[in-house]
């Protein structure tokens, strides 16, 4: 018993010190994340299309250099650097921004349109080997948010978005199939 008391007395300060240090480390990590980026709760997922039946492959021109799978019944049009995917419910737009940043996080965080602050429920993805971020942007005068994917490839940021609630799932599928096809 005497020995146990002695051990207990010895362990308690050690446990206390460990808890304090651990707490500080955890606090520092959370606080530094909050300062470092505005993207909330980064996770790593790989959205994929499990079954490609009912989808058709669309390969863009060399101007945009990508390939996606699109529901067969949807029409696709590429013009002036933008791809428009239309269904009866609405449309999904894919366009591209050049960037001088060498990764997506820097692009989002330093974005002149304040994407880092405005992108709600953002999630980071890896899409076919590419960095990607998805999230929602409020649209002035509309109850429906814009769902958007930002995919980084070789100083390009592809933006895939829709403002139709009914097309959110299709956008997920299309974004999950996105492949960068450089010339």
């Amino acid at each position: 018993m005497r020995n146990n008391k002695g051990v207990t007395l010895l362990i308690l300060p050690v446990v206390f010190v460990v808890l304090v240090i651990g707490g500080l480390v955890i606090h520092w990590q959370y606080s530094s994340q909050g300062e470092r980026r505005a993207i909330s709760t980064p996770t790593v997922q790989e959205p994929t299309i499990a079954d490609t039946e009912g989808f058709k492959t669309f390969r863009s021109s060399e101007i945009l250099s990508f390939e996606i799978l699109v529901p067969e019944t949807y029409s696709i049009d590429e013009e002036l650097g933008f791809v428009t995917i239309k269904s009866n419910e609405g449309e999904i737009v894919i366009g591209r921004n050049g960037t001088e940043y060498d990764d997506l996080e820097k692009y989002i965080t330093n974005n002149r349109n304040s994407l880092g602050d405005r992108l709600r429920e953002s999630e980071m993805f890896e899409i076919n080997g590419l960095e990607g971020v998805s999230g929602f942007l409020d649209v002035a005068g509309s109850d429906t948010a814009e769902k958007a994917y930002y995919i980084y490839a070789d100083y390009s940021v592809y933006l895939l978005y829709t403002r139709n609630l009914e097309l959110y799932d299709d956008l997920d599928q299309i974004a999950g199939s996105f492949r960068y096809m450089p010339n």
């Binding site: 060399e62 590429e78 002036l80 650097g81 001088e100 349109n113 304040s114 814009e146």
Partner: protein
């Protein structure tokens, strides 16, 4: 000299910069007549002997102003002026019945119904002019109209002077003040009282000269406290336009500037398409970077924000609900693309314009160095002499074409003016953020100064590519003491962007189908065309084509094909991937055909280094690159037959057939040889053929050379007979001798008899192929008796030894007739005795056969029966008949 020439070219370019694309419909001018309007346009002399309204009417009828060859291509047609406007009288079924409506100075109230119709007229693109009343007329008469338009303004207490009052300062720029007849500089006007112009744009303010007679009135009513009083107010309604002025603007005093204002007003209703000639190229050598124009141009890292491109206008901010969004030239509203308020385009890493890349003049002009500019860093400005200026920001300190404020240098299109750098505000900071910021400004007020047209002169060189309204030219704002509106954008690139949707409009476009390229220049069409390019089939062309023909069709917006065009477009044929070495180069030409049968040579130019044929054409049809072949001679093929040959084409062994083909001298070689054996199918000849079957054979063959010259079909016949003949020996009653006759399935035989000893002989039968049958034995012919026995039967080299045998034929003849009177034929083998005796007197032949001691035949037949001794595969047989 070169500089002078450059300036001359610039001057010429500026002269041709704005052009009328085509004549337009008439501008229909309507309005209120007398007495509703006291000073109507349709009767300028009604009230006054000399009315200045007449000057306007004269100008409207001046063909140098309107119509063919006029400043504005529209003719002016005056419609009957009316005293009332009813519902549907100005706009019916969405269509206007007039283009301009002169409300003028009303003598009575504008009714609510009239106000509603005028509002509809405005909203449907009509132009409306309202003048204030005279001093004895209350301006409340327009209240219904302004209420219908949602204005709070009233013509409360407007005052009209009775004589000349003053001349305005330079009016504020507007589409009417700075219209198709030029800029109106100073308006002669009487003042009318200040009104609330929060929703109407004042375009002419104050006075710089004041007549003494009016001074008192003006001083007390219009210029108190130094206020600027509006003389003229305007408002755009889409393509509709409202002008509000005092009556005196056109009534009491004549001023050429006032007339010009009305010319601009009427000219504004002329909706003819004014095409701006594109004049810009991208400001770096994208071709040297391996990029096409389309790829390079669309590799921007920041777009022009069509909603509020206010970045260069300090103190102007976007409304909160549009901040952080960018409206793209494609018509995409408030997107997440970069970046809000941006008033130009950025090209950086994606466009391969890294630090130090030469920045080139997008067009020729006068280059100057912008002085102090924190955010833009080193900036070059080029005035292109056509009312447009381009700017290039963030340039490096070195390599600048001009680096002192106030200096200018003339630069040519594509001339280096600086290097890509990161001076000023770039993100990320430092070299990593290097890019070109490129922007275009229009000198909207025509004063030669571009700074005072920031931001309202900002232009997107990609134009506005949407049927939705462009927000920028419809944005009205107050800046630097002036009311302003944004600017319309036009596609200003001299190169078209690849159109991937098969449709194109006035921006032009180019399309590719493998080695074919079709480039439609900006301004080629004013409507939407759809292009279909496919490989042509079912055509005939008397030349050697290089690749497949192009079948190009173009349809308009209603789906109707358009085959001929007023202006040409450019077609290119890249033949670098084709071997044309076998064509006579001088004959290589581009041909076109509407029906695929009759071909017309196009006037094409050939770049033999890049191997591209380029030509301009004004029609859509079949097109093909073709020429004459150097080699038009077919190759020659011969057949060699190998085997054991007899006579002529007969062989007594398996046969090997070898086909030898050879192209003519100077030809390009044999591509292939085909053959057909007997009734078989045509096959490509690859190796010699072996033919084993006996009988007659025919081989047909021809060759084709690498120039597609086809040889006529030849044929060779040969025979194979590997079987030796047989022989049939019998007495010939005609020749009265014993003869041997060859029997051979293959054809003819020859026989040879030779005595080989006193009582020995050899009888040989040969067929055409050279196969032989040789019989050897004893032989005795004496008088009328012939006797032989066969000891050896030899086929070619194979011998057979038959058993003992003997043949005898003994005959007698009638002494008188010398004809056969009797014949005794005997054939004896082991166990066999055959005797046939013919007796002519009885006309019978007696046949007696005994086999193995047994008489098997003992009979007679009428007539002469001949006994035949025949060989059969080495055996000896007999028969009689």
């Amino acid at each position: 000299m070169r500089k002078t020439l450059g300036v001359l070219v610039l001057l010429l370019a500026s002269l041709f910069f704005v052009r009328d694309a085509f004549a337009a419909d008439n501008v229909r001018v309507a309005g209120f007549g007398y007495p509703r309007n006291e000073y109507p346009f349709d009767n300028p002399f009604f009230q006054w002997d000399i009315s200045y309204v007449s000057e306007i009417v004269f100008a409207l009828n001046d063909q140098s102003n309107f119509g063919d060859g006029g400043v504005v291509p529209c003719e002016v047609s005056m419609l009957p002026f009316v005293n009332t406007v009813s519902s549907g009288s100005l706009v019916s079924g969405g269509h206007r019945t007039a283009d301009v409506f002169i409300v003028g100075t009303l003598a009575s109230e504008l009714s609510a119904l009239e106000a509603s119709e005028l509002k509809s007229f405005l909203e449907n693109g009509g132009v409306v002019f309202i003048s204030s009343g005279t001093d004895d007329i209350s301006n409340v008469r327009y209240s219904n109209f302004f209420e219908a338009l949602g204005f709070s303004d009233r013509f409360t207490g407007e005052e009209e002077e009775l004589s000349f009052a003053g001349i305005s300062s330079v009016p504020v720029d507007s589409p009417i003040v700075n219209g198709k007849f030029g800029k109106v500089h100073k308006l002669s006007h009487y003042p009318f009282r200040i009104i609330n112009f929060s929703t109407l744009m004042p375009v002419a303010l104050g006075f710089e000269e004041i007549d003494g007679f009016a001074t008192l009135s003006l001083g007390t009513q219009s210029q108190a406290a130094g206020e600027l009083k509006p003389l003229l107010l305007e408002k755009e309604f889409g393509s509709g336009y409202l002008s509000v002025a005092g009556t005196s603007l056109y009534l009491n005093d004549y001023s050429p500037e006032n007339v010009k204002y009305f010319m601009n007003l009427i000219g504004h209703a002329c909706k003819e398409q004014i095409s701006l000639q594109p004049f810009l190229d991208l400001p770096w050598d994208y071709g040297a970077k391996g990029m096409s124009f389309s790829t390079a141009a669309l590799s921007m890292s920041a777009y022009f924000d069509h909603e509020y491109p206010l970045l260069s206008a300090s103190g102007l901010n976007e409304p909160s609900d549009s901040q952080n969004t960018t409206t793209i030239f494609k018509g995409l509203f408030r997107t997440g693309f970069d970046y809000s308020s941006h008033d130009g385009y950025d090209w950086g890493r994606l466009a391969k314009t890294k630090e130090g890349t030469p920045v080139l003049a997008a067009a020729g002009g006068s280059a100057s160095f912008k002085g102090v500019c924190g955010p833009c860093g080193n900036a070059i400005l080029i005035d292109h002499g056509n009312g447009f200026q381009t700017r290039y920001y963030h340039l490096r300190d070195d390599g600048l074409a001009v680096n002192q404020p106030g200096q200018t240098v003339q630069v040519g299109k594509g001339q280096q003016i600086g290097l890509v750098g990161h001076t000023g505000n770039v993100k990320p900071g430092g070299e990593a953020g290097s890019h070109i910021h490129f922007m275009v400004i229009q000198d909207k007020n025509g004063d030669g100064n571009f700074e005072d047209n920031i931001p309202d002169g900002m232009v997107d060189p990609f134009g506005w590519q949407s049927n939705d309204p462009d927000p920028w030219p419809n944005y009205a704002f107050f800046y630097n003491g002036q009311q302003r509106t944004g600017n319309a954008s036009h596609y200003l690139w001299t190169s078209a962007i690849a159109n991937l949707s098969e449709e194109f409009d006035s921006n032009g476009a180019f399309f590719n189908l493998e080695h074919y390229g079709a480039s439609f220049p900006p301004g080629f069409t004013n409507e939407t065309y759809k292009v279909n390019m496919k490989a042509g089939g079912g055509i005939t062309i008397p030349y050697e084509t290089v690749g497949y023909p192009l079948d190009m069709t173009i349809v308009d917006g209603t789906g109707n094909p358009v085959t001929h065009f007023p202006t040409p477009f450019t077609l290119t044929i890249d033949f670098s991937g084709f071997d044309i070495s076998r064509l006579i180069q001088e004959t290589l030409s581009v041909y076109s055909s509407e029906d695929g049968i009759s071909w017309v040579k196009e006037d094409a130019t050939f770049d033999w280094d890049s191997k591209v044929a380029t030509f301009q054409t004004d029609h859509a049809s079949y097109f093909v690159l073709a020429g004459e072949r150097m080699d038009t001679t077919a190759p020659t093929t011969t057949a060699e037959i190998f085997g054991t040959q007899g006579e002529s084409d007969w062989f007594r062994s398996d046969v090997e057939v070898v086909l030898n083909s050879e192209d003519n001298e100077g030809g390009f070689g044999v591509e292939y040889t085909s053959y057909k054996l007997d009734d078989g199918d045509w096959q490509e000849y690859l190796t010699p053929l072996t033919v084993v079957d006996e009988g007659e054979h025919e081989i047909q063959y021809f060759s084709v050379d690498n120039e597609e010259n086809v040889e006529e079909v030849k044929s060779t016949v040969f025979y194979i007979d590997k079987t030796a003949p047989e022989v049939s020996i019998s007495f010939n009653p005609e020749s009265l001798s014993v003869e041997g006759v060859g029997v051979d399935e293959g054809g003819q035989t020859t026989t040879q008899f030779e005595k080989t000893g006193l009582l020995k002989a050899k009888f040989t039968v040969s067929d055409t192929a050279g196969n032989t049958l040789a019989l050897e034995g004893s032989y005795l012919h004496f008088l009328r008796s012939t006797t032989f026995s066969i000891s050896s039967v030899k086929y070619n080299s194979v011998s057979h030894s038959p058993g003992s045998n003997r043949y005898n034929a003994l005959y007698a003849t009638d002494r008188k007739t010398k004809k056969l009177s009797s014949l005794n034929q005997t054939w004896i083998e082991e166990g066999l005795f055959v005797n046939i005796f013919y007796y002519a007197k009885e006309g019978k032949s007696y046949i007696y056969i005994k086999e193995d001691g047994q008489v098997t035949v003992n009979t007679s037949q009428n007539g002469l029966v001949i006994l035949y001794i025949e060989t059969d595969s080495g055996n000896l047989k007999y028969r009689y008949e």
